[in-house]
Amino acid sequence: MRSSKIIKTIAQKLFPFIVLFGFYLISHGHLSPGGGFQGGVVLGTAIILLALSHSIEQTEKKFKSRWLNMLEKLGILTLIFLGFLGIFLGYSFLGNFLPLGKPGQIASGGLMLPFNIAIGIKVAAGISAIFYALIKYRGEI
């Protein structure tokens, strides 16, 4: 399957902006509409766009599915670890142990930013992993 040059070029040029937008959504989840899931899906679609416009093999060389699976597990283990840290520091599970900060700033909200980043990475990896699995399936032989 070959896609035209226009699509290839535009996808390549759009890719960094989509990634940037995804990271913006993730990191400003506690300040504006958005958050880990939404930003993660945007990041995932960036990878999907690249895979659809270029060849899947080429994209998979850059974003290996093994690494994506690893990142996914890492995201969830980070979440559980942060939850446990609350217990060890004398709060309850998933309790907030970071200072709340000044409202409206990026460092506010205590644990929300780390949570959002972990969720965002996990969702991005998960969405692209689903895409790889569905698109690479060639049926029973």
Partner: protein, 493 residues
């Protein structure tokens, strides 16, 4: 650390599930160790709970209606012990099978952990989230062999379960619109006022939640997914599904009926009669369908519908004796049905066929396993020295006491039908000689070699449990009693 025990019970299998995915070698050790940890934690909680003290844990420190809290009371303790105990046996039973890779143990641990999550949570939306997690893990466990039949069964279950959980969520939405909170105990406080102002909406939310759970429990008109799913899944998964997962639906129903909608409301809209009718119908339906089955595991699956009908009748009667009988039957059915499915797994592996006819002579080859099967199936029929009799007797007694004679007649008829189909299996087991199944000889050799102590010990333990609870029904009733008294004389904290 001791105040964090309720969450540790849920998180320890969950964490182990992810560690299982990361490590190739230690998957079985990790799984077993995490479940044993959870059991030990639960037992340390039990003395506190049984002394009448509710253990409450606020997640993230947000109490009351703001955040999610976990509440361990007598009822949730009873159900969580069933789940963890049988879960451990299921893991032990699936150890010798080489085909079960990391994903299998991952899904098993996730499903066990989410069952505990459903049981402990006090927040009705959190209950939905955990139930959805449980369902996803179960769909995948059913589809684990990846043959055409299992995929179809899993898809069927997914569609029906998806509709059921959507109904449940809609019911939660109704409750939230009426009360403005999601904490079950707070909903219970505010619901009477809502009941006075708009009764039809309360009834509608109850109907939605009960329908959703009814699909998960597989009462008669909503049972479509159960025979395929329970019979086609791998045998340890069938035992888990029939023994435990269905009971989670019953737990949710009890929790919603007795905690959220109070008992008076339940009686006022006379839904107990509906429960009895549904119970009677699914009792008869399950029994008569099981009679017609040729496939062993399918027979056992229909028998589940039959036995859950009895539990429904007990719940519908709603007196102290009826509830005791119903909860006791939940425990008994969990033990007996997992024994039967474990035995069926060995029988199918040894004879290489799923047909009842193909089992002839198995009783002579492996008398201990066949004897355990006989014990459990006698319990299913309700023959005195086995545990199934005690709980059936209690329910019949409660029904007569409360003036419902018709369900008693139906229970007796269904027991006779059950006797017919179980005795057919037993007759085949001990008569005739072992036929060469469809499986090639060298493969069978391997299977028999694999029938080692990890396979057989869970069966012996469960069969001993059947006998113990049957000979000393007072022991079982004393396990159930605290939960029943909680339900009957519940006090909103």
């Amino acid at each position: 650390m001791s105040i964090h025990i309720p969450i540790l019970i849920i998180i320890s299998p969950l964490l182990a599930a992810f560690l299982v995915l990361l490590s190739r070698k230690y998957k079985i050790i990790l799984a077993t160790a995490s479940i044993i940890t959870s059991i030990v934690f639960t037992l340390t909680l039990s003395s506190r709970v049984l002394s009448g003290d509710k253990v409450t844990y606020h997640l993230g420190g947000w109490r009351g209606p703001l955040g999610i809290s976990l509440v361990v009371d007598e009822l949730s303790l009873f159900f969580s012990l069933i789940v963890l105990g049988l879960g451990l046996l299921v893991i032990v039973y699936s150890m010798p099978e080489r085909n079960y890779g990391r994903t299998y143990y991952f899904l098993l641990l996730i499903s066990l952990s989410s069952m505990i999550g459903v049981i402990y949570t006090a927040d009705i939306f959190n209950m939905y989230v955990f139930y959805e997690l449980l369902s996803l893990a179960v769909y995948l466990l059913i589809a684990y062999p990846k043959t055409g039949v299992t995929l179809r069964a899993s898809f069927n279950y997914l569609i029906m379960g998806g509709v059921g959980l959507s109904f449940f969520l809609l019911g939660v939405g109704f409750l939230y619109a009426m009360t403005g909170t999601l904490d079950m105990f707070h909903i219970a406080e505010r619901l009477p006022a809502a009941f006075n102002s708009s009764m039809q909406m309360v009834i509608m939310s109850f109907v939605l939640i009960a329908t959703g759970m009814g699909i998960k429990i597989a009462v008669f008109p909503l049972h479509g997914w159960l025979p395929d799913a329970h019979s086609m899944a791998p045998s340890p998964v069938s035992a888990l599904l029939s023994g435990v997962t269905v009971k989670i639906g019953i737990y949710c129903l009890i929790r919603v009926v007795y905690t959220v909608f109070s008992t008076e409301m339940f009686l006022l809209i006379s839904s107990h009669n509906i429960l009895i009718v549904l119970g009677v119908v699914s009792l008869l339906f399950g029994a008569s369908m099981a009679l017609a089955q040729k496939d062993l595991k399918r027979l056992l699956a229909y028998s589940t519908i039959n036995q859950l009908g009895i539990v429904f009748i007990g719940l519908g009667i709603g007196t102290e004796l009826g509830l005791t009988g119903a909860l006791f039957h939940v425990l008994n059915h969990a033990i007996m049905k997992s024994t039967l499915f474990f035995c069926a797994g060995i029988m199918i592996a040894e004879t290489g066929t799923r047909e009842v006819k193909g089992l002839s002579g198995f009783g002579r080859q492996q008398p201990a396993i066949a004897f355990s099967f006989v014990i459990a199936s006698l319990g299913m029929i309700g023959i005195p020295p086995i545990n199934g009799f005690a709980s059936k007797w209690l329910i019949c007694l409660a029904a007569v006491e409360a003036g419902y004679t018709f369900p008693v007649v139906i229970i007796l008829i269904a027991s006779t039908i059950a006797a017919a189909y179980y005795f057919r299996v037993i007759q085949v087991l001990f008569g005739g000689s072992l036929k060469q199944g469809a499986m090639p000889a060298h493969e069978r050799e391997q299977v028999i070699h694999r029938g080692n102590l990890f396979r057989s010990w869970p069966i012996y333990i469960l069969a001993a449990g059947c006998l113990l609870l049957g000979l000393l029904p007072a022991l079982g009733i004393s396990l159930v009693k605290p939960a029943v008294s909680l339900l009957l004389f519940h006090v909103v904290p």
